[in-house]
């Protein structure tokens, strides 16, 4: 990648480097109009494209914002990414992308890479975990983040702070009221569902999952209902599918209707997909609710009850957009938790 440089432009225009710089790349000092015009002409003729790297080096500010997600193809993350991207665009910056499959070690590496590129800020989406196998990774990630913040970087984390990260200057957590919303969902479901509840959760130690489980249980308790059984599985569609397979027999042989809370939408879809070929229909034989309100899944049938999360706004907030309202979700009861009239107790 070579291209014409500012000094070439300056030479062609017959002015100094300084003047050319002032004309082309926004400075507080505005050279005279005739000179400016000459410089612009020269730049145009040469097809001058300023070297952002060099500018960044000279100004020590890169205009970059780093985004860390588990998987960019996951609709949850891509929705957040859209928000980050929009915020970046408004701030006239560009976003650097890193996918890590959720491994803290990879995230640490990504942070280091962003730091190397001198990104002005870093957004970490994707749930934190306290699983023992992630312990060392988390510590290293926290250390890397601390260093980045100490060097003047801004960090926005979605959901939960990185374990062990000190609350340094520039460290910012976008709170997502998972627990409250899950409690709200449980309360609403408890109002119409008479039978037992069951939770299909992610692995223990995953904050997002744990919060939603805790909230749901609390909501049930507040409604005077017994605690729900919890099934642990993968935090994705495959996990839900697996859980669905395990549940099918049980649902078919039981007389009591079950209400399933899957801790996110794609897991709920997985459960449903596994149940269907077994002849278990939603909401006829069991009901199910998810969490996130993924846009792409909104046309899914039966329409999935879930908790709406303003994912785009979350992304914007994490990217430091000041005009974005704070996160506020909402319970959305839809077809998948409707109790058929004839089977109501």
């Amino acid at each position: 990648m070579a291209a014409s440089t500012l000094s070439e432009v300056a030479r062609l225009a017959g002015v100094s480097l300084a003047t050319a710089s002032r004309v082309l790349n926004g400075s507080s000092r505005k050279p005279a109009e005739d000179i400016a015009e000459r410089v612009r002409e020269a730049a145009d003729k040469l097809g001058y494209v300023p070297n952002a790297q060099a500018q960044a080096l000279a100004k020590s500010s890169s205009g970059l914002i780093g985004l860390i997600v588990h998987d960019i193809a996951d609709p949850y993350f891509s929705a957040i990414a859209r928000g980050v991207q929009e915020a970046a665009r408004q701030q006239n910056r560009m976003v650097l992308l890193a996918s890590t499959s959720g491994a803290p070690a990879d995230e640490k590496e990504a942070v280091a890479a962003f730091a190397a590129r001198r990104a002005d800020s870093i957004v970490i989406a994707g749930s934190r975990s306290v699983r023992t196998e992630d312990k060392q990774g988390n510590a290293e990630l926290a250390a890397e983040l601390d260093r980045y913040c100490r060097n003047g970087g801004h960090v926005g984390v979605v959901g939960h702070p990185v374990v062990g990260a000190s609350t340094a200057e520039g460290y910012h957590v976008v709170q997502v009221p998972n627990e409250e919303l899950a409690a709200g969902l449980a309360a609403e479901l408890a109002g119409t569902h008479r039978g037992a509840f069951l939770i299909v959760a992610g692995p223990e130690g995953l904050y997002t999952s744990d919060d939603r489980v805790r909230g749901f249980q609390r909501g049930l308790a507040d409604a005077g209902r017994p605690e729900a059984e919890v099934i642990r599985t993968g935090f994705n569609r495959a996990g839900g599918y697996e859980a669905g397979l395990a549940l099918a027999e049980r649902i078919k042989s039981s007389t009591e209707r079950l209400c399933i809370f899957a801790v996110n939408d794609v897991m709920a879809i997985g459960v449903t997909a596994a149940l269907r070929p077994e002849g278990v229909w939603i909401p006829r034989d069991a009901t199910i609710a998810g969490f996130d309100d993924i846009e792409t899944l909104r046309d899914f049938r039966p329409a999935l009850s879930t908790v709406h999360l303003p994912l785009e706004d979350i992304g914007r907030l994490a990217a430091g957009d000041p005009d974005t309202p704070p996160v506020s979700g909402a319970v959305k009861l839809r077809r998948s938790t409707e109790t058929p009239v004839e089977s109501q107790v």
Copy 2:
């Protein structure tokens, strides 16, 4: 963003800048082990993170790969993005993201921004168009790309070349056999469907849409079937929804079964969503097929007949991954085009 510099490390280790550089940031010359160790210790103690901007400036190669999509939250694009991301990771590079909503003018700007950052290569996903309102934008985009290529950049375009771009060195188009695949789909559908066909297409001038329409018509013709009527609408879910609304009455009042080909999956979903509340059921009252085989939509019911496209591979290919097999799609007939036994003619 300030951090400790190489010269600080060098001073602390008591060596020269050159030596420190050679030790820390891969060079062909390997200093003696004891010295190297000293440098590494110093770097570690200072928390040294190499400044990639400066490295890029010195080496004139940034390790960046720019990705342009219409909308990162669209599952079509996020799937491609995943592929690009993976390829980048393998090549030890980072991806820079830009969303443009498909406007050539924005794309041109994105290319310029990538060029400014001296990205090693640029991937443009998202369909090209020849609509008159895009004419000037396309020309400017082409000029910008040409300049980028002439300066040694590599560009990979998904689907169709940018209108007006000269086939300069480094310009690479990932061919997607839209027409052939659409023809294949039509052939298969013509085998089971006896009634009329209708195409819900994107706006005229959009290559991807036009190719699929043309292919489908050709497939029909080859099967001895009359040409299908074409409805033009937006190339997204909303467009499909609109078309669905317009079609509902017609389907209900006609005795002939209609087979709808929506030129992409989300449009097909939109059509279906609009039809359902009108009492038009798929595949009972009409059948429908899409294109792309979006992963998130795979659990949709009735399962959508579609054409599978290896989107991740496409992303990888566009990012210049040599180990990725060429693009080859496949027709997937599923429930949405099954002709109910009782209504077969």
